[in-house]
């Protein structure tokens, strides 16, 4: 079990570093997909198959496609290599370090190593569904409403209300792709 965890963790870390350090944006996006798959594998190893497969379905199947579409529809010159460090990498580094230290503090203070692990719950998909429809129904419906609003909003931005010649075509296309993704 330790060995499997080590392999998955190494995969996640290496691909995450790749996602921020490749010079080509599409390579970064594909590296991020490997990270998503690694996180899904981690869920599977922890005995949460539902979360793992949903991770694959949503992140690899939809979010990655959204990222890729966004890259392709907004960048025209893909031969120009991107610099690895952005303009405000110092501020980003400070924020990242702060977040990391807060997390390290929280984890070590609680003493996760010393507390015994709780018994692994035998969760079936049915129980998750029942919980979603009873205990967590209001958050679920709120999220559904929010996503529908976002989808309708994207369609309204994308729709061509006046004569077709005057509108900017490339812009409309980008929004239309966004609306497709949002409903997904």
């Amino acid at each position: 079990m330790q060995a499997i965890f080590a392999i998955i963790a190494a995969l996640i870390v290496v691909s995450a570093i790749g996602a921020i350090s490749f010079r080509n944006l599409v390579h970064c996006a594909l590296s991020l997909v490997v990270t998503f798959c690694g996180v899904a594998a981690l869920y599977l190893q922890l005995g949460a198959p539902f979360a793992g497969w949903v991770q694959v379905l949503v992140y690899v199947g939809a979010v990655a496609i959204l990222i890729v579409f966004a890259i392709l529809l907004t960048r025209s010159d893909e031969n120009k290599p991107e610099p690895i460090f952005g303009n405000n990498w110092k501020a980003g580094g400070v924020i990242g370090l702060l977040l990391f230290s807060v997390m390290v503090y929280a984890i070590t203070r609680d003493g996760l190593d010393s507390t015994p692990l709780p018994a692994k719950p035998e969760l079936t998909v049915r129980e998750i569904g029942v919980d979603l429809m009873t205990q967590y129904v209001i958050p679920l419906e709120t999220m559904a409403l929010l996503l529908t609003t976002a989808a309708i909003g994207a369609v309204i931005i994308a729709i061509r209300l006046c004569n077709p010649e005057s509108s900017a075509d490339s812009d409309t296309h980008a929004k239309a792709a966004g609306s497709v993704e949002a409903t997904h």
């Binding site: 198959p49 199947g61 939809a62 990655a64 993704e181």
Partner: protein, 411 residues
């Protein structure tokens, strides 16, 4: 030596039990093996049938398709290699293997190489949850349907990789069309199969098949396709799966005449064969899933035919659906890309949502107990589907989509 003979006889018994549709003795066989290799043997025993049967079916289907299309187009089809041209797939396979593998100089080498591999692997994984017979279930997963769709969704990215990695305009345009088509049709595909999950109360494909077993009065099977919501769901699912598998009339991503085969343009030799294999495997997986969800899986159509081994029923339904797909390919013209997306969003999606509501009504009217309640319930639900179907069809065909197309970039 003794253990070898033991293992060999164990495997022969295993095969015999599988063929005669009995529960196999895999657990006992694995216990006889040394501790170190038994997990490996377990995995190989489950995987190798999938790896053998479905590519074999693929070879047979290419022959069947070319013969069938030939018949529809009033010509002979392959007839030179072997009896009735039956060895044509072998000749094609050898040709593909020995062809030069051309990689464009400007292509992204790594991504161009990885795309066919990342396409074939999830396609094969999808078969792992399909119950192919009474005791032939590679993996009975609690969230089997979710797993199947997760695997199906991850193939979209491989098509993008193929299109982008080739560094070719046509490839990229073809890949983008393929992705927009697959995303648009994935929604009606999933919603139409959700009706089955609602009525069964389980995401496990084994439970879904078990829920459809049995006959009304010994002759009418309890398959989902024989209910109003099931029939509508089956038709929606079939159309969406044609689009997911990039089959005609939804083969716009490949459109040989306009896009010179889209994302496949820069692939040759064995990599092209892998794409071809993945496309047909995806088709079989979709046909297998629609068999499982709507056509009763491995259940026999009549009670007196129940003695026939269950896997024969599963595969004959699957091959029947594949024949239907070939027939559709030979007779229906290709859609235009705007018609395709309009059809998905303005017709398929509303119908799938209506079907969801009808399935719920079917579920709640199951408490009706009076004479002829089943027939009344059936007619009521059928009306709830048919009226929106005609209204929607009329609305769409009156919306002026059949005017000559205005071109935005040409002219």
């Amino acid at each position: 030596m003794d253990t070898l003979i033991h293992i060999f006889s164990g495997i022969v018994t295993l095969l015999w039990r599988v063929v005669t549709d009995q529960p196999d003795q895999k657990a006992e066989l694995l216990q006889a093996l040394p501790q170190a290799i038994s997990p490996l043997v377990n995995v190989i025993l489950s995987i190798s049938p999938i790896l053998m049967i479905f590519p074999g079916l693929f070879a047979l289907t290419t022959w069947l398709e070319r013969k069938g299309l030939g018949r529809i187009q009033n010509r002979l089809g392959p007839n030179r290699t072997g009896p009735f041209g039956l060895f044509q797939p072998v000749a094609d396979g050898l040709k593909m293997l020995t062809k030069e593998d051309i990689i464009p100089r400007n292509a992204d080498q790594v991504i161009h190489f990885l795309a066919p591999i990342t396409l074939v692997i999830p396609t094969f994984l999808g078969f792992a949850v399909l119950p192919m017979g009474r005791h032939l279930v590679p993996l009975n997963m609690d969230a089997g349907l979710l797993f199947f769709f997760a695997m199906g969704a991850s193939t979209e990215l491989s098509i993008f990789m193929a299109g982008w990695g080739s560094r070719n305009k046509y490839s990229l345009v073809g890949a983008m069309r393929a992705i927009s088509q697959m995303i648009s049709y994935e929604i009606p595909l999933i919603i139409s199969s959700v009706t089955v999950v609602m009525l069964t109360g389980s995401l496990s494909l084994v439970n879904i098949v078990a829920h459809q077993s049995g006959w009304l009065g010994g002759i009418i099977p309890r398959w989902n396709v024989l209910t109003p919501w099931g029939f509508a769901g089956f038709v929606l699912f079939l159309i969406a799966s044609l689009a997911e598998a990039n089959r005609s009339p939804f083969d716009i991503p490949e459109a040989e005449s306009e896009l010179i085969a889209g994302h496949l343009t820069e692939y040759s030799g064995f990599k092209y064969a892998l794409f071809f294999l993945a496309e047909y495997l995806g088709l079989f997986a979709m046909a297998g899933l629609s068999t499982t969800l709507f056509l009763g899986g491995w259940n026999a159509p009549f009670e007196f035919l129940d003695f026939v081994p269950s896997y024969i029923w599963f595969f004959s339904k699957l091959v029947g659906l594949v024949l239907l797909f070939i027939w559709i390919r030979g007779t229906v013209p290709r859609l235009r890309v705007d018609q395709l997306l309009n059809f998905a969003w303005k017709f398929m999606l509303p119908m799938a949502l209506i079907n969801l509501v009808v399935a719920a009504i079917w579920h709640y009217t199951s408490v009706w107990v009076f004479p002829a309640s089943l027939i009344l319930r059936w007619l009521f639900c059928a009306a709830l589907i048919l009226i929106p179907y005609f209204a929607l069809g009329k609305f769409i065909s009156n919306a002026g989509h059949f005017a000559p197309r205005t071109y935005r970039y040409a002219e």
